[in-house]
């Protein structure tokens, strides 16, 4: 049962930031509530005050502006999975959103809330890492942009300051001849392992000009795997196929997999290798389809 709490409903980000600064750890930002309320019911999170940011206007916009997708932090998963703009520019993102949790969670859960809660067993963060996303945070002292690589600090821990609110997620639209994939695996409600891959190929669709790899869910936080990227970048697709096991090893190491109810650490590491291999095949095929 949830303990009694006070509900604040600020109308502006500045007002919300002020409340956060004033009440410190006793206050939590409330958006979709799909993670927070569950944790409060289980008494894992105790707070006296919830700051409902859903009354703040324009935090749920979704628009394409100068080659960048700007997604308001309050956009629900449902909205994202149904967005035509997203389906056109970022099909991998839509595919990921379509498989977040279940339809009831997607209906109210928000992308911003998902990122800020930083539950390790989660999907969007891992994919955003390979999409070179930038997160926009606003506090009383102003507004700053955080590259997604620097956002996740650990389980349930982000780079947001005490009075900062995540307002927007900016994703550059990938150039033609590139593609991304997010493949997750799990048999419980939450994913055990998630692997994301982005590749840009040259005009002939034979050489990899850019590669980004990320792993999530298996360990404390989603991570870029620079070692794996270095192996894939600047080589031909056939060579990439030869190197994928080695890249998988690097990804498995980088994940810092832990044993828990979602699987044993060695199994998760194995899955990362398998999923990265599958992601490579899928992404290359998709890139080549575009050039054909």
């Amino acid at each position: 049962m949830i303990r009694p709490f006070r509900l604040e409903e600020p109308k502006t980000v500045r007002e919300a930031a002020g409340l956060l600064r004033r009440h410190g750890d006793g206050a939590r930002v409330y958006a979709g509530g799909t993670e927070l309320l569950l944790a409060m019911k289980e008494r894992l999170v105790r707070c006296d005050r919830l700051i409902n940011i859903k009354k703040i206007s324009a935090l749920d916009r979704l628009e394409l502006e100068d080659g960048t997708l700007r997604i308001g932090a309050l956009a629900t998963h449902r909205r994202l999975e149904e967005s035509r703009v997203l389906a056109q520019c970022l099909p991998a993102f839509v595919a990921m959103e379509r498989a977040v949790a279940n339809v009831r969670v997607r209906g109210v859960g928000t992308l911003g809330g998902n990122l800020c809660f930083a539950e390790p067993h989660s999907d969007p963060g891992t994919l955003l890492l390979v999409l070179a996303a930038t997160l926009v945070a606003e506090g009383q002292d102003g507004r700053r942009e955080i590259p997604v690589e620097n956002f996740f600090l650990g389980p349930f821990e982000t780079a947001l300051g005490g009075d900062e609110i995540l307002t927007e997620i900016k994703i550059p639209v990938p150039p033609p001849g590139s593609s991304a994939a997010y493949i997750k695996f799990g048999y419980l409600e939450r994913p055990s392992v998630g692997v994301a891959l982005f590749l840009a190929l040259d005009d002939a669709a034979e050489g990899i000009t850019s590669a980004r790899v990320a792993v999530g869910s298996a360990g404390p936080q989603p991570k870029r795997v620079f070692e794996a990227e270095a192996l894939l970048q600047g080589v031909g697709v056939t060579e990439a196929g030869r190197r994928i096991d080695q890249a998988g090893e690097a990804a498995a190491r980088a994940a810092e997999a832990v044993s828990d109810i979602h699987g044993a650490a060695d199994y998760k590491e194995h899955l990362i290798r398998v999923l990265l291999k599958r992601a490579l095949a899928r992404v290359i095929e998709d890139c080549q389809k575009q050039t054909r």
């Binding site: 695996f185 048999y187 409600e189 109810i261 699987g263 199994y267 899955l271």
Partner: protein, 778 residues
């Protein structure tokens, strides 16, 4: 050949009587009730798996505004606070020790749930931690800590008495079932082949959509309880015992129940709310959360070792079974579940020399009790996996091996029991045909078969029913069968309608109330269509006899010349509506005919269980799976189920029961397990404990029924509900073994465990691989 009876209502796919109410949210469940003056209870549960309670201090809690009463061991004087389904080993709240994480330590009643919750947090309990045993191996190890040092472990239930044999006193074993016939050791000597396998079954929970909930109200020395209970009469008896009341002073009312599966049998949380109400003399509602239901009752984890001797020609000649059932911290129905597991362990085969030893073991985990399949699920996983393992080692087609060894219709499972009442080959051949059994499977795919039987309808059951026909000719049924979602009330009403020549919309079912509803032992053991079905049919026939007599009187003719149909009495001079007959006979509309029906199994000293089974519930299953060798994921592509219905009373409900059973089976086969670490359950919730959903259904799922009129129930019906569930785990396990060449002995077959088994088999020297072809049986 007997002419087939033409049915009008029995056999029709009639919609659920209460279906509209339920899907529109109008149906009233216990949790919906709000009584004047009602207060709310919450339970403080042990955080430790095993500890002595040094001190409980509730003073801080009592000062919480709105807190009415804190029930601790200090408040129990004056009642018989020790209770239990079979053994009296459980107390209303903990007295000397706590024995599992979740064991009720104290309870609070308050004006609202918030105050009750706040007060719970202010009860100070001092524990002295004790070493705990949390699985079978630990519990049976020599010198293991004892969950119960002393226990009055004797009980009598339904033609069986239960106790701890002298030689197990001072251990964690609380019950032993033994059975043997022939000369097992000599038969093993004579066997051409002897095979031994050990199988494991994990701890799972019922996961009814509605967690346990009840309201207890003491007014003076009369106790009324509203409860989501599957056996209100048993509950009444237990509560009467605790509070020293005559049965007539305890009244149990059962609103709709949101799922039972055995988890709402016997006594669960009702003594806590009743004890609070006994002190407060106000209605007390106790609604457990899903997490608390996980800490109230579970299925028995099991270790089943089976050794079989096979003759050169492929005949089974000897079997030895050793079964350990983990009943958790309190016996609950454990001794009975263990007895049934032991009794059912031989499977549907003719085995002349057989021996079974089944042991029920206490551990410091959530109590295990009745659960759909009642011990049969654990042993069916073992014996039907073992059947395939034998066939595989011998290079014999598992289909042929089964056909060769099946008991025939009319043969005895054990001496003194009801003979096998159907042709086991008929169902298995249907499954084999549906799977295209002989066709080779694609790479990484495999097919598996399974056939399971259980004695069913409960042992030594008693049921009564009443049917009242009102002046307008409509009828009300009073039955102790609880509608737990299985559709029993619809099917039983169809029996009434069929017997009385009424349309179904002229039949209603009264709310179950132990003050007025005739006695019934329990809604369990797939018994409602046979045991209660016969009581209901007899009650309706009693009404029919009286109605015909009244009609003969009114129409001045002989009852023999009259028949019932379409709500009218049909005679030589046309048809007369029942209403006219009744008002004619009674002289006014102040008219009613009451019919009674009773069914009782017979006791028999010759029967191993003290009473021959009502019928044999038989389930055949076939699965085709695809296994991803890289991830270990098992995908069930096809599942085909055959059940012996005898006579289908309502096809929609039968398919619902069977498919529901299959989905249930998929749960414990592939996904569900309560994970323990240091005595703590890590996943007592529906996020981390995976119950299968619609997306987990096989793409190709079908269930069909045999209807040979061979059941003891109305119109030849048998019971359903558990048969479809029994074969699932082994059918899938056998299919996985054939797809991969690797047999896994422990459920569930999670991707991680399948992957690990595949990896280990690759490391091991060339092991058992599926043969390319089967050799034929001599």
């Amino acid at each position: 050949m007997k002419a087939k009876r033409a049915f009008t209502v029995a056999g029709a796919a009639a919609p659920r009587l209460e279906g509209l109410e339920k899907v529109t949210g109008e149906a009233i469940y216990t949790g919906d009730l709000d009584l004047p003056g009602m207060c709310f209870a919450k339970v403080l549960r042990s955080p430790l798996p095993h500890a002595r309670i040094v001190n409980i201090d509730a003073r801080r809690a009592e000062r919480v505004p709105g807190c009415l009463l804190v029930l601790t061991r200090n408040e129990l004087a004056g009642i018989q606070y020790v209770f239990g389904a079979i053994y009296k080993d459980q107390t209303v709240v903990a007295v000397d020790k706590v024995r599992y994480v979740g064991d009720p330590v104290a309870a609070v009643a308050a004006e609202d749930e918030e105050a009750a919750e706040e007060a719970l947090g202010l009860i100070d309990v001092e524990y002295e931690e004790l070493p705990a045993v949390t699985d079978i191996e630990q519990a049976i190890a020599p010198g293991a800590p004892l969950v119960h040092e002393t226990v009055a472990a004797t009980g009598e239930l339904r033609a069986s008495s239960y106790d701890i044999p002298q030689k197990f006193k001072g251990t964690n074993i609380c019950y032993h079932f033994g059975y043997s016939r022939g000369n097992v050791e000599a038969a093993f000597e004579k066997s051409a082949h002897v095979f031994e396998d050990t199988f494991y079954f994990q701890k799972v929970q019922h996961c009814s959509l509605e967690p346990h909930v009840n309201i207890a109200h003491f007014a003076g020395d009369k106790l009324t309880v509203w409860s989501a209970s599957q056996d209100p009469f048993t509950l009444r008896e237990n509560l009467a015992g605790i509070f020293g009341l005559p049965l007539s002073r305890v009244r149990v009312i059962v609103p709709y129940v949101g799922g039972g599966y055995g988890g709402k049998l016997y006594v669960k949380a009702e003594p806590i709310s009743a004890a609070l109400s006994w002190k407060l003399q106000r209605p007390v509602k106790l609604a457990l959360s899903m997490g608390e239901s996980f800490k109230t009752v579970t299925r028995h984890p099991a270790r089943v070792r089976i050794k079989s001797g096979v003759a050169r020609d492929g005949r089974l000649i000897a079997r030895d079974c050793e079964i350990y059932m983990d009943t958790g911290a309190y016996a609950d129905a454990g001794p009975r579940v263990t007895q049934k597991a032991g009794y059912r362990a031989l499977g549907p085969y003719r085995i002349p020399h057989a021996r079974v030893n089944a042991y029920c073991v206490y551990t410091n985990t959530v109590p295990a009790g009745a659960f759909r399949g009642f011990g049969g699920v654990q042993v069916a996983w073992a014996y039907e996996s073992h059947t395939d393992a034998i066939a595989q080692r011998l290079g014999i087609d598992p289909l042929d091996f089964r056909l060769k060894n099946f008991l025939k219709k009319g043969e005895l499972y054990t001496a003194g029991d009801t003979p096998i009442d159907c042709d086991l080959k008929e169902g298995l051949l249907k499954v084999a045909k549906a799977l295209d059994w002989k066709a080779p499977a694609k790479p990484n795919r495999g097919k598996g078969l399974s056939c399971c039987i259980k004695d069913a309808g409960g042992t030594y059951k008693v049921a009564g029913a009443t049917v009242k026909m009102s002046a307008d000719g409509s009828a009300v049924l009073l039955t102790g069968t609880v509608e737990i979602g299985q559709g029993a009330l619809t099917a039983l009403s169809q029996v009434v309608a069929e017997e009385l020549g009424l349309s179904l919309n002229r039949v209603s079912v009264a709310q179950l109330d132990t003050d007025v509803t005739p006695y019934d032992i329990s809604t369990s053991a797939s018994s409602s269509m046979t045991v209660m079905g016969l009581a209901v049919q007899r009650a309706a026939q009693d009404v029919k006899r009286q109605l015909l007599r009244a009609a003969a009187n009114v129409l001045k003719t002989s009852p023999k010349k009259l028949t019932l149909g379409g709500g009218k009495v049909r005679g030589p001079r046309g048809a007369v509506p029942y209403a006219s007959i009744l008002t004619g006979y009674f002289g006014s509309r102040a008219a009613e005919i009451i019919g009674h029906g009773l069914y009782q199994d017979r006791k028999s000293k010759k029967a191993v269980l003290g009473s021959p089974t009502t019928f044999w519930e038989v389930g055949w299953g076939g699965a085709e799976v695809a296994v991803d060798p890289e991830t270990g994921v098992v995908e069930v592509l096809k599942y085909f189920s055959v059940s012996d219905a005898g006579k289908v009373i309502n096809p929609t409900q039968c398919i619902g029961q069977d498919e529901g059973g299959i989905l249930f089976g998929l749960g414990h086969t592939l996904y569900e397990q309560m994970v323990y670490e240091d005595g703590q359950v890590l996943n007592p919730n529906l996020v981390d404990y995976r119950v299968p959903t619609f997306r987990h259904l096989p793409k190709d799922l079908e269930s069909v029924f045999l209807e040979n009129g061979n059941g003891p129930g109305p119109f030849g019906a048998k019971g359903l509900g558990e048969g479809g569930l029994l074969p699932v785990a082994a059918a899938i396990g056998n299919a996985v073994a054939r797809a991969t060449g690797v047999r896994i002995y422990q459920l569930p077959l999670t991707p991680g465990d399948v992957w690990r088994a595949l990896s280990e088999s690759k490391k091991a020297p060339a092991g058992q691989k599926s043969p390319a072809g089967w050799r034929s049986l001599p």
